[in-house]
């Protein structure tokens, strides 16, 4: 929820906290809030009136605007905006003004010649002034705005905050008034409630409102207002809307928006004369019913989605967006103001189904009190009267089941029991009262607390405890040491898993964690039956179609991801991979009905190691019965699959069903967690692919491998990412070394030519410096 600091200070005249302090206070007591930016109109921007418009001689879309900048000053600027006419009051930015670009960055305006015509500055759009993102035309100001005055005197500097209102507070805090009340409770301030005169008493003649299902629309207030004169909103109101990211449209539409951001309840104004009938019905949509929205989009509706109907036609999607054709525009004289309350889940569903989220739907979808609708209606009618000359004709209020206020039994001692230190009764009573709760102290131990009607989240004692605790402040919770406890034994599932993990790692394998999704392509190649695989209903991509049924396919994927290294015949680096994780299949008998989850350990051995021997050595870690071998499968991977994946045919695999193995244990496994390893710091790795070249050389006996390696790395320079000695042979007359050289760059994929050149440099250096004979 975007907040204007100026707006808050208007509602809290005694507020002395700066924006950053407000953000901190709300973050520590209510919800995370940050200062996001400022609005500050550049002092070089002044009001001006267009006195003459001449087509640009050299450009069809440009005009030369002669403007009056006050005190007799006249200037000519080049302007391409479509929305200007003679008499328009505009924002004139003189050279030197800082103008906001599309990207959000600013540039300093200078005198310019545009297509041969000199322009003494520019007429600025809202975006160029830092007032939101609108850039379809220049900012037009009310016709009564004095010319030659700094724009900042009409739109004063403001600071913007963003409150990440939690769902439980969306009932009362999605508005400036709500936030002001919250701050008033926290800082012991008084809210200057906005002026709202009582709503008209009797029903208006001729109008009717019917509500099909009061569960989905608990309240509907309809107020016909006549004789409005459509105009621009006063600048103070426009400034408020700019601050919350809205574009001013006309006084009536602006008032409905303004009141939503002030009071929290969305409103809608229909042009009454354009409604098919003086009858409003809230009903569910017909199958396939089509409505064209305000912004010209066609929506196809379904039953269960709520519409506002007039004379059999849907004129709005309830609580989400108005329809075209009945919107308030220039010339509208009579309105029907709607202030309603809709069931949160209904709006949530419709908004999700239509993929349409508006400021209105966001508020209704999280739940509002029907009481807020009446408050917002009163405020809006007051403003429509004062700012647009409207006359309310009466009120229809369909509210068949008024909400009951809950009276909560509250034991003040419970607060201390949760807080961890004593919170006194007077402090508690003060907090609850500032939160607008009615507090009756029946005894010193039992109170009755009635929360305000807009706090839908306060329904039980635990809710009041939370209120007390957060207002009191979590920073006041005492610090202490945790209770002393006996060390707990590690359960066997953990023990056996960690032992297998250690065994696989100490046999030279690298542990991976894979995402447990798959397409089943590799699984099928490996001949793994995928009939029982569990499919994901809503995968993000095709690679998430199924839950894995075996760990092996993704382990082979891991080899492919490291294929440069894996395809080397030998390496002194570990390249075997293993994983311990869950696999799933359809079936009964597990914890979850319909799906069997089992934990496996699996390894793929690249280095020629014997999988059977490895599996045997793992089983020997445990006291098992004779049939424990059933839980293990080992062997070569399907050669055809390996060939298809261009992986070495000698790869062996191993799988141990740990869930099953647990049932073959004759004795509890014992495990001491290893002492924590020293903390390592991650070294960034290049995202560009490595290339491997081998070099084998004969050198004089006594030449050390390190010496050779030093020459390789120096001669190869930054392109050499690693040198791996993979073979040594000490002959009688010569020593032979073989290295893999890994070429890789941090900034690009290396070309063959670059690598060859580096490799030749290395060979030359080895030959020159130690007389190496390159084989």
């Amino acid at each position: 929820m975007q907040l204007s600091y100026n707006w808050l200070t208007e509602l809290l005249p005694n507020l002395s906290a700066a924006p950053a302090e407000i953000a901190e206070i709300l973050t520590m007591h209510s919800f995370e809030t940050t200062v996001t930016g400022t609005v500050a109109i550049d002092p070089h921007v002044r009001t001006a009136r267009i006195t003459r418009l001449i087509p640009h001689p050299n450009a069809d879309r440009l005009q030369l605007a002669e403007i009056d900048i006050g005190q007799g000053g006249r200037l000519t600027v080049v302007c391409g905006a479509p929305n200007i006419s003679i008499g328009s009051i505009v924002a004139y930015a003189a050279p030197g003004a800082r103008i906001v670009e599309d990207s959000g960055s600013r540039f300093t305006l200078a005198k310019a010649t545009i297509r041969g015509q000199e322009s003494a500055g520019m007429l600025a759009s809202p975006r160029e002034l830092g007032l939101g993102s609108h850039h379809t035309g220049v900012l037009l100001l009310p016709v009564d705005t004095p010319v030659g005055t700094p724009l900042s005197s009409h739109i004063p500097p403001d600071t913007l905050l963003d409150a990440d209102v939690t769902p439980n507070r969306a009932h009362d805090c999605m508005s400036h008034l709500g936030i002001a009340r919250e701050l008033a409770a926290l800082l012991e301030l008084t809210v200057a409630e906005p002026t709202a005169r009582p709503l008209p008493a009797g029903p208006p003649p001729d109008w009717e409102v019917t509500v099909e299902n009061p569960i989905d629309s608990p309240r509907y207030l309809g107020i016909p207002v006549s004789n409005v004169s459509i105009d621009d909103s006063p600048l103070w109101l426009q400034a408020r809307l700019f601050a919350v990211g809205q574009r001013p449209i006309n006084n009536v539409v602006d008032i409905t928006n303004y009141v939503m951001f002030e009071q929290g309840n969305p409103l809608h104004a229909f042009a009454a004369d354009r409604l098919p009938a003086k009858h409003i019905a809230v009903r569910s949509a017909h199958t396939g019913e089509i409505i064209t929205t305000l912004d010209g989009k066609q929506l196809r509706l379904q039953p269960r989605q709520l519409v506002i109907d007039s004379g059999g036609t849907a004129v709005a999607v309830a609580g989400i967006i108005g329809g075209s054709g009945t919107n308030v525009a220039a010339g509208t004289r009579n309105l029907l103001l709607e202030a309603a309350n809709f069931r949160a889940y209904a709006i949530q569903q419709t908004s999700a189904e239509l993929r349409l989220a508006t400021e209105s739907s966001k508020r209704f979808a999280r739940g509002l009190s029907p009481v807020t609708a009446a408050a917002a209606a009163a405020r809006a009618v007051t403003l429509l009267t004062d700012l647009a000359g409207g006359q309310p004709l009466g009120l229809i209020d369909r509210y068949p089941h008024p909400i009951r206020r809950t009276r909560i039994t509250f034991r003040p001692a419970r607060v201390s029991a949760v807080f961890g230190s004593a919170v006194s009764s007077p402090v508690l009573a003060g907090i609850l009262t500032r939160l607008r709760c009615a507090v009756e102290e029946e005894t010193h131990a039992v109170w009755h607390v009635t929360p305000p009607p807009d706090r839908l989240d306060l329904t039980g004692e635990h809710d009041l405890i939370e209120e007390a605790v957060r207002v009191r402040g979590f920073e006041n919770i005492p610090a202490r040491s945790p209770d002393r406890q006996h060390r707990r034994r590690v359960p066997r599932t953990v023990t056996i898993r960690e032992q297998i993990r250690d065994a696989l790692a100490s046999a030279g394998s690298v542990e991976v964690y894979n995402r447990p999704f798959e397409k089943m392509q590799i699984a099928r190649k490996l001949g793994i039956s995928t009939d029982a695989a569990v499919a994901i209903a809503n995968p993000i991509g095709p690679e998430q179609a199924y839950l894995r049924i075996s760990l092996l396919p993704r382990l082979l994927d891991n080899l492919l991801a490291n294929k440069g290294e894996v395809r080397l015949a030998h390496s002194s680096r570990s390249r075997n991979v293993f994983e311990i994780g869950t696999v799933w299949r359809t079936g009964e008998g597990g914890k979850i009905p319909g799906v069997i989850e089992e934990e496996y350990a699996a390894a793929v051995l690249v280095d020629g190691r014997d999988a059977a021997a490895l599996a045997g050595s793992i089983l020997q870690l445990f006291k098992t019965n004779d049939t424990a071998m059933q839980t293990v499968s080992v062997g070569r991977c399907a050669p055809a699959a390996l060939t298809a994946l261009k992986l070495p045919a000698t790869i062996q695999c191993l799988e141990i069903n740990i869930s099953q193995l647990l049932m073959h244990l004759n004795e509890e496994p014992v495990y001491q967690p290893p002492s924590p390893v020293a903390v390592k710091t991650y070294q960034p790795i290049s995202k560009y692919p490595p290339a491997y070249r081998d070099i084998s050389l004969l050198v004089a006996p006594g030449t050390s491998a390190e010496q050779v390696q030093g020459i390789i790395e120096r001669a190869g320079g930054v392109l050499v990412a690693d040198t791996d000695l993979f073979d040594v042979y000490d002959g009688d007359e010569k020593t032979s070394y073989a290295f893999h050289i890994k070429y890789q760059s941090d900034s690009r994929t290396l070309s063959d030519d670059e690598i060859t050149a580096a490799h030749q440099r290395i060979c030359a250096a080895l030959a020159a410096e130690i007389g190496a004979e390159i084989r």
């Binding site: 005492p478 991976v512 490291n562 903390v679 084998s696």
Partner: protein, 334 residues
């Protein structure tokens, strides 16, 4: 133990001496049968490992396996050598005898998880595990997240095809109720659980479709926010090896009330700003009731956070996707 290890060592010496004398394929086959075949001397000794006293078993088993693997390697090398007609020549296919088993590596998330398990068992917590395919009633309903609750719609949940009512758990919190009911636990309890969790969302450097969570829970008659603060501070201090400074601030999770966010001052990188570490709170009375725990008598605390995040902070890893990349160059750093 010493005697079995000594016997294994003697067996290895004998086998090596004998292998040096082998000159042809038939001799090699005889050697294999005598030393490393199924009935060979080394496997025979290895089978005796399981009869050793518990404390000695591990070392003997490890030593035995090392010997057997080393001998198997030597066997293959000899085999390759014989296959090139006994010609003693350098060949990349015949690995030299001095080559050592390269060290394996545990995943950084394993190191992290082990440390968490170590700290929490020391703090008296019982370690619990549960399924990652979860029933919606545990993932949502029993945690006070009704079908109509906005939090349910806002969570990007993976659903299973043909299995209505099943989801990939979006957090490990369903274990609060599941583990209490399944094990018929009664307060006082201290539980710690962890595991993979899933969100159907596009991945970026800090959000994975798969991520790991840890959570702890305490229920007794008096446990309160001061205990939450104490346990959490102790946990992060021990995990990062430096005195942790934490701050609690209000937040909202339907299954706790008060609900709060736990921030830790960044002393790990030394920048000092507040890092979001975990969500926490007092267990909501509806959730206690779902556990069959009398909420008028007992109260509980719970805290859950991202294990990936702990590992990223501790090791300075900038991108969560690295954990699941299978990149050997990354994994061999740990």
């Amino acid at each position: 133990m010493t005697s079995l290890i000594a016997e294994l060592n003697r067996g290895e010496t004998a086998a090596r001496r004998s292998l040096n004398a082998v000159a042809d394929a038939s001799g090699l086959e005889a050697w294999r049968a005598a030393y490393i075949g199924r009935k060979g001397s080394i496997p025979r000794l290895l089978r005796m490992v399981k009869d050793l006293p518990l404390a000695e078993r591990k070392n003997a088993g490890r030593r035995g396996n090392e010997i057997r693997q080393a001998l198997e390697r030597s066997f293959r090398e000899k085999e390759a050598q014989i296959n090139v007609d006994g010609k003693k020549a350098f060949s990349p296919q015949s690995a030299p005898a001095h080559r050592q088993t390269p060290p394996g590596h545990l995943h950084p998330l394993t190191h992290t998880l082990r440390q968490i398990q170590y700290i929490f068992t020391k703090l008296g917590f019982r370690l619990i595990e549960g399924p990652s395919v979860e029933e919606a009633r545990y993932n949502f309903d029993s945690l006070n997240i009704s079908l109509e609750h906005p939090a349910r719609a806002e969570t990007d949940t993976y659903y299973l095809k043909d299995h209505p009512g099943l989801v990939l758990r979006t957090h490990v919190s369903p274990l609060q109720v599941r583990s209490m009911l399944e094990n018929k636990f009664r307060p006082p309890v201290r539980l710690m659980y962890w595991g993979p969790t899933f969100r159907a969302e596009k991945e970026d450097a800090t959000h994975g479709a798969l991520f790991q969570q840890y959570e702890f829970l305490v229920i007794d008659e008096t446990v309160n926010l001061a205990d939450l603060k104490a346990i959490t501070t102790a946990f992060y201090s021990q995990f990062f090896g430096t005195e942790a400074v934490i701050r609690l601030r209000p937040s909202y999770f339907p299954f706790v009330e008060p609900g709060l966010e736990v921030d830790m001052q960044d002393t790990v990188t030394g920048r000092g700003d507040w890092l979001e570490m975990a969500g926490a709170g007092m267990i909501h009375p509806h959730v206690l009731e779902a556990m069959n725990v009398d909420s008028s008598r007992y109260q509980g605390i719970a805290l859950g956070g991202g294990l990936d995040r702990l590992a990223m902070l501790k090791y300075g890893i900038p991108d969560i996707r690295l954990f699941y990349s299978g990149n050997l160059e990354f994994l061999r750093q740990f």
